[in-house]
């Protein structure tokens, strides 16, 4: 028995003939911040989808707190304490900002259908608790003035933050962030990095993050795993990764390739 929060063992996913993730291993200790990087199409998001039960692996195991969670549905994985954001932002566009966050706490409420229909005292209490927690998160993420806007009307950067607020609503143990800095300008990226660190501290989170902007990965991650063509090609501290020739090649291409220059 190890004390890792998450252990991915020999995870493989084939779509038809294409092997998107191939014999992938990863250990994540509690309280760490791990970066998952690699070129486009390397299979990073597929790993997230496999962890969260959105797709079934062809083979391999995902062990969370000592329990193999392969085969659980996404909502069950979430209830165990793994939540995520999406690369292409998947908010509930026609719900208000507040509701986008409140909806993520839904399963914790013991007020049922009947309570809702008649607005019973228990229902009102639960709604108040949920709303308070949601507002607390929104203000942490600087969205407190936006709570009644529809999510789809927020600017891009705020949508990204709202997605993070939503993912934090149910007090997850493991947070998966899929390209949180995508589309942000350098100033926003800087603030995002601070935000991630402070949230991690405050909620005692373990974080796994996919990111293309190396500034983010190199700036805040303790550990970096590099994927290429579905496989883990390197693992180590940011400094080690930065100077790893396989990584540089996978990212920038090989300098002076034969027959080209």
């Amino acid at each position: 028995m190890t004390n890792n929060l998450l252990e991915i063992k020999g995870l493989t996913k084939a779509f038809g003939g294409l092997v998107a993730v191939k014999d992938f291993f990863l250990q994540i200790a509690p309280g760490t911040l791990t970066g998952l990087i690699g070129p486009n199409g390397a299979g990073k998001t597929t790993v997230f989808n496999l962890i969260t039960g959105m797709i079934m692996p062809t083979s391999g195991a995902v062990v969370f707190q000592g329990r193999d969670i392969v085969g659980l549905k996404p909502f069950q994985v979430y209830r165990l304490g793994i939540s995520r954001t999406f690369q292409n932002i998947r908010l509930f566009g026609e719900l208000s900002v507040l509701d986008n966050v409140r909806v993520a706490y839904h399963y914790r409420s013991d007020a049922g259908l009947f309570d809702a229909l008649v607005r019973s005292p228990r229902f009102r209490d639960r709604e108040r608790e949920i709303t308070e927690r949601a507002r607390e998160l929104l203000s942490l993420l600087g969205l407190e003035l936006r709570e009644r806007e529809l999510a789809k009307n927020l600017p891009y950067g705020e949508q990204r933050r709202l997605e993070i607020a939503r993912a934090l609503m149910a007090e997850p143990k493991l947070l998966l962030l899929d390209e949180p800095a995508a589309g942000m300008n350098p100033a926003e990226v800087g603030r995002l990095m601070e935000l991630i660190l402070s949230l991690k501290e405050r909620f005692k989170l373990t974080i796994l993050l996919i990111e293309h902007q190396m500034k983010v990965v190199m700036g805040i991650c303790q550990q970096v795993a590099v994927m290429d063509f579905g496989e883990l090609i390197a693992e180590g501290t940011p400094a080690e990764i930065q100077n790893n020739s396989r990584v540089i090649e996978a990212y920038l291409g090989r300098p002076g390739g034969a027959g080209v220059a």
Partner: protein
């Protein structure tokens, strides 16, 4: 056994008429993802155009079919340009409601006394009905014409879609509007052409329906339209051979349910098969599995 074969042929006859309607449904769905509820009513208009061509204008039968096809093609393109094109970026349900509106309009407008009138009309037979017997099975010249015309049109459509440049453009647009535009294809024109061809086929189907089941009225398009649509889904919507296959299955099942089980259960059999197929193969018999992108 001969009884069974006889009913099979009757079922095929029905199925071929459904197929001509189903093709328009499937092509339009394939290209703009719209359930064109007005399509059954275009079929009805085709039947009436044929009716007037034969009974009032005394045109020969083949010309009557051409009249119905051309008339319906124009109608189909007109409907697309006026009612659907403005809504191409609106929520999909808006186009669907508009399609229902067009359908109701065609039904009730043509019911007006100075248009087609609300009553049933007996369809004129452009030639005497003859029957031929072959190994105990009776086939009428009407059936032969239905089979013949439907087959010719289906072969022509298949050749058009697979062998011509416009057909290729139709297939490209139905796959992806944006990439098709990058090929230099005028997507709007291709969509109009698709509506036109689908409507023309339905028009021909209307005339064949008229001579085979010789009674027409402005609401005749509803049930065959619905069944043809179901046939298109059964075969795999957006897939031309699928529509033909689904339609033939629908026609045969309907006929066999009618004669072997109960005529009142006729419609239930076909729809029960539809639900089962959808549950087992949600994208239809010839359809491909769709995956959601995460």
């Amino acid at each position: 056994m001969t009884y069974f074969l006889q009913q099979l042929i009757n079922g095929l006859q029905l199925g071929f008429v459904y197929a001509l309607i189903a093709l328009g449904y499937t092509m339009v769905y394939g290209i703009v993802r719209l359930i064109n509820f007005a399509h059954g009513d275009v079929f009805m208009v085709g039947a009436y155009l044929g009716f007037f061509a034969i009974a009032s204008w005394r045109l020969p039968f083949p010309v009557a079919i051409v009249v119905a096809m051309v008339g319906c093609a124009l109608l189909g393109v007109l409907i697309e340009r006026l009612a659907y094109k403005p809504l191409r970026r609106a929520p999909r349900i808006s186009s669907l409601i508009t399609a229902i509106g067009v359908s109701l309009f065609l039904e009730y407008f043509t019911s007006l006394k100075f248009v087609f009138g609300p009553y049933f009309r007996a369809y004129p037979r452009p030639f005497a009905v003859r029957t031929y017997e072959l190994a105990g099975i009776t086939i009428s010249n009407i059936q032969i014409i239905v089979f013949g015309v439907a087959l010719v049109l289906m072969v022509a459509l298949t050749l058009f879609v697979n062998r011509t440049k416009t057909g290729l453009a139709m297939r490209a647009v139905s796959f992806d509007h944006q990439t098709a535009a990058l090929m230099g294809i005028n997507v709007n024109n291709v969509i109009s052409i698709t509506f036109g061809i689908g409507a023309a086929l339905a028009g021909a189907g209307g005339v064949l329906y008229g001579i085979a089941y010789p009674q027409i009225n402005p609401f005749m398009g509803i049930m065959p339209g619905l069944k043809a649509f179901v046939a298109a889904v059964l075969g795999g919507i957006g897939i031309i051979p699928g529509a033909m296959l689904g339609a033939v299955i629908m026609g045969v099942v309907e006929k066999l349910t009618e004669v072997y089980i109960s005529s009142t259960l006729r419609d239930a059999g076909a729809f029960a098969i539809l639900i089962i197929v959808l549950l087992v193969r949600p994208s239809g018999l010839l359809g491909k599995k769709q995956k959601e992108k995460v």
